[in-house]
């Protein structure tokens, strides 16, 4: 079973990460295209139209190769994750259906006008279509991110023991949960960072090649301020994400920080090298070979109070620490016991219902409801299963923050140089750095998802369903087979995309 869980996770991760190669550029480049075309609309200068059409061509290639790659995830829900799909179908169904109807129709209608409509519809109508395409793509992301946020912080539902499904009781609580809103803005804005980095990187290549210098410089002048605004807002919403993680998923925060034993006035680890797990078990107070700390910052970021106690992994397992609202959380063992009671109560309820024993059904239901918050712990056999991979979460988080900060300086520098008399092309090393920024932006974007998804393990739905209970009883070999098929298919598609993309870039404006 352990192998099956790992392969199912690996397959889902592969598909999601592949899908996420296309989404950020669609959302990010879309905004740049919208702004450039708006300038064309205002100024009526043909060079802005040329710039718009060039970036639109790259947008089109990315959109076409990426389209429908997300559907494969939905295939996997039905086959590999059937327990999960059943358990949450009612919650997940609504956002995904809205996404399908709203976003699909918005995108598919207006993208045609975007590409076919030059000289056929008015400039104003074309511009509207472009912005509506961008808006449609963002709305599409909105619903998926709301669904993902619900998995991290399940809210607005009740569990129906007759159908064994969670049923949505408050749509707005799901759609407007603070975690969802923060996630939406953080993710969409980070996509703008990718778009800006791609635009600046490709333009820098033209500068190095001494081709289309004027148009490339104009593109950078548009992308750099968008990049700065986007990265600043991404940092701001990232802080909001970390704050929510501290409140709702303290284990994830502890893993992000490599914090095994909590402390008041906790420092943030700016950089660090973790010891192997075995060594940490012997002495959990110093899990690092070396680290650079920023005093008080973790307490402040997590709880807006420099004196706040930030629980470590072992504190969370032991449960013996006061939270900010003053209560002592249950230990892992207590939660596991509560989860077992919940699962047993579900079983008793259904048996009593079949036997027509109304009294027993009612008391079992009360027991289930009282313990439902820990339902997923009933599948956990050892406390150690509740700890996500600390090295992956820790290093992915640092990579995201450090390289994200690099983009703040890079965009800032590019914006500043835009006001100099002979900007950009004089700085060859900087141009190369901008080109290197393109893959780096993708890696940062992916690492954000790694932090979010690896850091919440073992949960598919926080506290309610671990991955172990979410997967279907399939043969491991069949999951491995489809994993290999996806690897081949995705590699071929990626090569096709890169080949077409590079060809289009080489053609120039």
């Amino acid at each position: 079973m352990e192998d099956l869980v790992l392969w199912s996770r690996a397959q889902f991760a592969l598909t999601a990460m592949y899908h996420w190669l296309f989404v950020p550029l669609t959302l990010g480049l879309g905004v740049i295209i919208g702004i450039v075309e708006t300038i064309y609309y205002k100024t009526k200068k043909e060079q802005w139209k040329t710039i718009t059409k060039f970036w639109m061509r790259l947008f089109g290639v990315n959109f076409a190769i990426g389209v429908a790659t997300g559907l494969i995830l939905e295939f996997q829900f039905g086959t590999n994750w059937s327990n999960y799909s059943w358990f949450v179908g009612d919650i997940f169904g609504a956002p995904l259906a809205i996404e399908g109807i709203m976003a699909f129709f918005l995108e598919s209608t207006f993208i045609a006008i975007m590409f076919f409509g030059w000289n056929k519809v008015s400039k104003g109508f074309h511009l509207t279509a472009t912005w509506l395409t961008v808006f449609g793509a963002s709305i599409s992301a909105l619903w998926i991110l709301i669904a993902n946020a619900w998995m991290q912080y399940p809210i607005g539902m009740t569990f129906n023991p007759d159908t064994v499904r969670n049923e949505m009781t408050n749509f707005w609580a799901v759609a407007l949960s603070p975690i969802a809103m923060n996630k939406v803005f953080h993710t969409v804005l980070s996509c703008w960072v990718v778009g800006a980095a791609a635009c600046i990187g490709v333009s820098s290549w033209f500068l190095l090649k001494k081709r289309h210098i004027d148009l490339a410089k104009k593109s950078i002048k548009i992308a750099a301020p968008i990049g700065i605004i986007a990265i600043l807002l991404t940092i701001y919403t990232g802080d909001g994400s970390a704050y929510h993680v501290a409140q709702k998923q303290p284990m994830k925060l502890a893993a992000m920080e490599g914090l095994y034993r909590g402390q008041t006035q906790a420092p943030l680890i700016a950089l660090g090298i973790l010891k192997p797990e075995e060594k940490i078990k012997q002495n959990d107070k110093n899990p690092f070979y070396l680290n650079i700390q920023i005093p008080y910052v973790l307490s402040f970021l997590g709880y807006r109070n420099i004196d706040a106690f930030v629980p470590g992994i072992n504190d969370i397992l032991d449960g013996a620490y006061p939270t900010q609202d003053g209560h002592i959380p249950l230990s892992a063992k207590e939660k596991m016991a509560s989860g077992k009671i919940a699962l047993q109560a579900l079983s008793d309820y259904r048996t009593a219902k079949k036997e027509g024993n109304i009294y027993k059904a009612e008391t079992s239901l009360q027991t289930l409801n009282a313990n439902y918050a820990n339902f997923g712990y009933g599948f956990i056999t050892e406390e150690s299963q509740l700890i996500p991979s600390v090295p992956i979460t820790f290093y992915a988080f640092r990579f995201m923050v450090i390289v994200g900060t690099f983009f703040l300086f890079l965009f800032g520098l590019m914006w500043y140089l835009g006001y100099k008399k002979k900007p950009y092309e004089n700085y060859k090393l900087l141009n190369w750095l901008c080109i290197a920024g393109v893959p780096l932006a993708y890696m940062v974007s992916q690492s954000g998802w790694v932090v979010a998804e690896v850091g919440r393990q073992p949960w598919v739905i926080q506290d309610l369903m671990p991955t172990y209970s979410a997967i279907s009883s399939l043969q491991t070999s069949s999951v491995i087979t489809t994993f290999i098929i996806f690897c081949l298919l995705f590699t071929i598609l990626l090569i096709a995309e890169l080949k077409i993309m590079f060809k289009q870039i080489n053609k120039g404006f």
Partner: protein, 73 residues
């Protein structure tokens, strides 16, 4: 001119005058064919539908699976 005819012509001429778009459409169609005609049918059947015909049977199956995987008290 009828609005539907206008829309049809808009798309028709748009598709006809495509250059790069033709390659992209070929890739999209091949991809969709692989996804729906091969992957979905042969590798990604609806697992629960193979276990039960109706919602009641599916919920029974899920409960049984949960009981199997739950830690025994």
């Amino acid at each position: 001119m009828n609005v539907f005819v206008k829309v049809f012509r808009f798309y028709y001429e748009g598709f006809r005058s495509m250059t790069l778009g033709k390659t992209l459409w070929i890739i999209i169609l091949i991809k969709l064919f692989i996804m729906f005609a091969i992957l979905k049918i042969f590798f990604f059947p609806n697992f629960l539908s193979s276990k039960a015909d109706n919602d009641k049977g599916k919920s029974e199956y899920i409960v049984n699976e949960m009981e199997k995987r739950a830690v025994k008290p």
